[in-house]
Symmetry: C2
């Protein structure tokens, strides 16, 4: 089993403090390069053909790497898929959260802020990599339930929570009228992304930036008609 020739299943964390230390150049340079290349190529291939249709040969070719190298770094096709997906969600979820960052402005009109944030959320939502990630996740949800859970938590759930936080602040400063920021966030996101399912034909059609802008504006419009603070009925 634990022989020494080509059976050292690299695995392990990304932090490369191998045996020696001294020299500043990171120890597993060639290794980490290959691993990155493999994961990116894998995601590209999976995104193009789906999990079942992608064969490891092709992924190896796309990564410019030999097949045994893949099996050396990642044990089998399943973990290859898992790691590729996790890497992808790491790449993608950042952009979603960044889209909400500007909602931190302590003052200013709510409408233009929501419109800009909404547009950026939509843009990220329709980005090919993000779409591919959701597509793969949905397609293989049954086969990888744990992965589904993890990625949804790190993706959609984080977006939801961050938005709810922002809306709660708006409510507190009287710029929004709601007692349930979670519901408001859920509905704002629904108004944004819900219509895209049909409009993008489940992600198979790309949609113009203008259309994104239109949908975003309509969402904000309706959202504010429902959630803008109205005349207070307190005495």
């Amino acid at each position: 089993m634990g022989s020494c020739i080509g059976a050292t299943r690299y695995d392990g964390g990304v932090n490369g403090a191998k045996t020696s230390n001294a020299s500043r150049r990171e120890a597993p340079r060639g290794r980490i390069d290959k691993r990155q290349a493999i994961l990116e190529a894998a995601f590209r291939t999976f995104a193009r053909e789906g999990y079942g249709q992608s064969c490891v040969r092709e992924i190896a070719a796309e990564a410019g790497v030999a097949k045994p190298t893949i099996y050396n770094h990642l044990g089998d096709k399943e973990t290859l898929f898992r790691e590729a997906m996790l890497a992808a969600v790491g790449r993608t979820s950042g952009a979603g959260l960044a889209a909400l960052e500007q909602l931190r402005e302590p003052d200013g009109d709510v409408r233009p802020m929501l419109e800009e944030a909404g547009h950026r959320v939509l843009k990220n939502h329709c980005d090919p990599e993000s779409q591919a990630l959701r597509w793969l996740l949905n397609a293989e949800a049954a086969r990888f339930p744990d992965l589904l859970e993890t990625i949804q938590r790190e993706g959609a759930q984080r977006l939801h929570d961050a938005l709810a936080d922002r809306l709660a602040r708006f409510a507190l400063s009287g710029r929004l009228h709601t007692s349930d920021p979670d519901l408001a966030a859920e509905q704002f996101l629904a108004l944004l992304t819900g219509p895209m399912e049909l409009r993008t034909r489940l992600g198979t059609r790309k949609v113009s930036d203008a259309e994104l802008r239109t949908v975003g504006r309509a969402a904000v419009d309706t959202f504010l008609r429902a959630y803008a603070p109205r005349a207070v009925d307190a005495p």
Copy 2:
């Protein structure tokens, strides 16, 4: 090619006017039965395991039929999938439209009508067969673009159109305030079904009727806050 022994690729429409006529009992009785059984078993299997993972042997077993019988009725796995999906959307889309039927009442409070209709739409949306249909469609969208188009048109698009029609009538009778019933329909459906993606974990978790009721009520609430007719500013 057109031999006679077991190579007669049945195919054809459902209307079974074969050679003979006279007798009232439909001619291809055994045949149509088998075909139905096959299509239903196929959809069940596909819904359980996905397209790639379902092998024809298993479908045959589930249908209580021999494998060559499947290839005799439907040419290959692809058309088997297509036909099974089309049959399923035929079964499902009816329920969705029926959910909107009660919005035809010419008078009565809009809110309870929308709540009831919304609940029924949601219920249908979360029905296992409907969910399986959307899941399979989404998963195999890249492989069957034409099927995607057809099913979306007969499913989601029809629901949207029907709802837009109902809302247009409401607007005309002054019970709703909008000049764009298509947008209103799009957003109402988004408010209904959008939140379910996260809540059902992409369809892998079943959600209680109470939760459905809650989401539906919230959707109607927000929708009406945005679309209820307000004080008219006409002279």
